[in-house]
């Protein structure tokens, strides 16, 4: 009896907390469909008049498509680089005989201790000196460099769990190391790669500090920075417009989230278990 009542009480608590997480988003959605006047009067209720003006205005003054394209380029570029080069490094460290393997592993772990924000300043100077500020490469390479550590460490753990027989079989079939790696080993670790894809996507798509500092030209801004700048330009007067811009900017992530939530959950929590 008591157990059941307790369980129901906890359930209610969890539902309320869940609402606490969802409600702000719902509120913003609401806001973006209200006219300015109606918003100031009844901030909570559902809109009496569903206005799409905010969204049309947003399309005109908010460069959503440009930012979206840029975010896509940065994310895809970083993803490909990290997966390609990072997995090769992880493979080398875990399966090849190299005197410096252990040192290299600890070295890469440094990347987890050094947060991005620390080297913002010299990175800024470096990128300018190399003449790649405000180019796609100029942001992709630093993002790639900082995303390496987590990926290499996780793939390293995964590689180590593979049986040695795999390479032996490939060797007997006459493969050289490159063929065996790309044709046999890589396909086997697809789940780990999928996990990394999700993680890297989340990290780069929502990245703010580096993008903010390294990209100053409007045409190259990713979504996060574009939204922030839009907000600072419009000021706090037209919240409906801002709400619309925010919802638009969140749509891609929400769609990915809705369609792959279980994979996302697995990816996000994988780090905890593999330790």
């Amino acid at each position: 009896m008591r157990n059941r009542a307790l369980r129901i009480a906890i359930r209610i608590l969890l539902i309320i907390i869940g609402i606490f997480f969802i409600f702000p988003l719902y509120w913003m959605l609401n806001m973006s469909f209200k006219s300015k006047e109606e918003f100031y009067v009844t901030p909570f209720a559902l809109p009496k008049q569903w206005i799409t003006d905010n969204y049309t205005n947003a399309f005109h003054s908010y460069n959503f498509l440009v930012y979206f394209k840029n975010s896509l380029i940065y994310t895809a570029g970083t993803l490909v680089l990290i997966l390609f080069l990072g997995s090769m490094l992880a493979y080398c460290l875990s399966r090849m005989e190299w005197r410096f393997s252990k040192y290299a592993l600890s070295y890469i772990s440094l990347g987890l201790v050094i947060p991005v924000n620390v080297v913002m300043i010299p990175l800024f100077i470096m990128i300018i000196d190399l003449n790649i500020q405000n180019t796609y490469i100029g942001l992709i390479i630093p993002l790639f460099a900082f995303g390496l550590s987590a990926c290499v460490l996780m793939l390293y753990a995964f590689f180590r769990s593979l049986p040695k027989e795999l390479e032996e079989a490939a060797c007997i079939d006459g493969c050289n190391v490159y063929q065996s790696y790309f044709r046999i080993i890589l396909p086997i670790i697809k789940p780990a790669i999928a996990t990394q894809c999700v993680l890297i996507f989340m990290n780069v798509w929502n990245e703010f500090p580096l993008s903010y500092i390294l990209v100053t030209k409007e045409a190259y801004r990713p979504l996060t920075v574009g939204l922030a700048n839009f907000f600072m330009e419009i000021g706090v007067t037209d919240w409906g417009l801002i709400g619309a811009a925010m919802i638009l900017s969140s749509l891609p992530t929400m769609i990915v989230y809705a369609s792959a939530s279980e994979q996302i959950e697995n990816a996000l929590t994988a780090g905890a278990i593999l330790k």
Binding site: I10, L13, L14, I17, G18, F21, I22, P24, L25, F44, L85, G86, M88, L89, Y91, C92, R95, M96, E97, A104, L110, G111, I114, P115, N117, V118, V119, M120, I121, P122, L123, M126, P142, F144, L148, K164, E167, E168, M202, F208, P209, Y212, I213, T224, V225, L227, A228, F231, V236, I242, G243, M246, S250, T253, S261, I264, E265, T269, A272, I273
Partner: protein
């Protein structure tokens, strides 16, 4: 077999590109940063060495100490308040049905996948004194006296920003803890039950020690993450009012990119990275030292 594969060329090709870029863009920049912290620098060229002047300037500046205190408050809140809440929620989640679990997981993950800008702006709207969600809610239930100027009151502003940050990650941390919880074999609990242990005791004596690795992992990312808080401050308050909601990274950014004092900014960065390294070392030394197996 491995000998056959591990030719010098193949090792080079596999390992070098990643290691090179990593060194060039993550490790190497630390050195110019150290150097610049001893110079007067405007972002384009150095204007000569000034010894410890930059460091003296920071240590005697009120904004730096406020930034440090703020960062400390945020780290404290997210670990001493956020983590226990997440852990508790994970325990509670364990006792629920699949339906409730799925609902909570989905709801909890949502804040973590939104971009920082969206979250910062969302909370600005919530904190708006006139019609914001929070004050309106308080007025609606008759607690008008509790309404505040959440983002412009000097005493509260850092807590307001901290709550936005916490909101984003509590759900995710709960999920992480819950995943760790699930991996503990049920047999331990059954044995404890037979010995007469109640839920609290078994939680304390079995779950938490076995969760050590996960707790350490979450602790590390929580602390390092909250220490690096920058985006929320920049969008929500711009460090204001005045400098009262600056964090250490914001101070770094401000000194370098807004005051064009790259030397001072670099000095702040050096102090910041030393703090990070210190914390990582301390955590590694004192938390989850031995592997516990039953």
């Amino acid at each position: 077999m491995t000998r056959f594969f591990s030719t010098n060329t193949s090792i080079f090709i596999f390992a070098f590109p990643a290691l090179f870029i990593f060194t060039a863009f993550v490790v190497y920049p630390l050195f110019p940063e150290l150097v610049i912290s001893f110079q007067k620098h405007n972002g384009f060229s150095s204007q000569g060495f000034v010894g410890f002047e930059n460091y003296n300037e920071i240590f005697s500046s009120k904004s730096f100490w406020k930034a440090n205190t703020n960062t400390f408050i945020i780290v404290l809140l997210s670990t001493a308040v956020g983590l226990p809440i997440s852990l508790l929620l994970a325990f509670l989640l364990d006792s629920q049905t699949n339906g409730t679990r799925r609902y909570f997981k989905a709801a909890g993950m949502l804040p973590a996948i939104l971009s920082v800008t969206v979250i910062a702006q969302m909370w600005m709207a919530i904190y708006e004194p006139q019609w914001g969600l929070l004050n309106s809610l308080l007025r609606a239930i008759g607690l008008e006296s509790l309404t505040q100027q959440w983002l412009t009151d000097r005493g509260i502003v850092i807590f307001s920003v901290a709550v936005a940050f916490l909101w984003q990650y509590i759900g995710l941390n709960t999920l992480l803890f819950y995943t760790g919880l699930k991996s503990i074999p049920k047999t331990y609990y059954e044995a404890a039950l037979m010995d007469g242990a109640g839920p609290v005791k078994s939680a304390l004596m079995i779950t938490i020690p076995l969760l050590q690795e996960v707790i350490k992992f979450v602790l590390v990312i929580s602390i390092l993450g909250s220490m690096g808080m920058f985006a929320h401050v920049e969008v929500m308050t711009g460090g204001g009012p005045g400098y009262f909601s600056r964090t250490i990274v914001y101070e770094l950014y401000y000194k370098a990119f807004m005051s064009s004092e790259f030397g001072v900014g670099s000095a702040v960065a050096v102090i910041y990275v030393l703090q990070c390294i210190l914390i990582t070392l301390v955590l590694n030394r004192f938390v989850a030292r031995e592997k516990i197996e039953f």
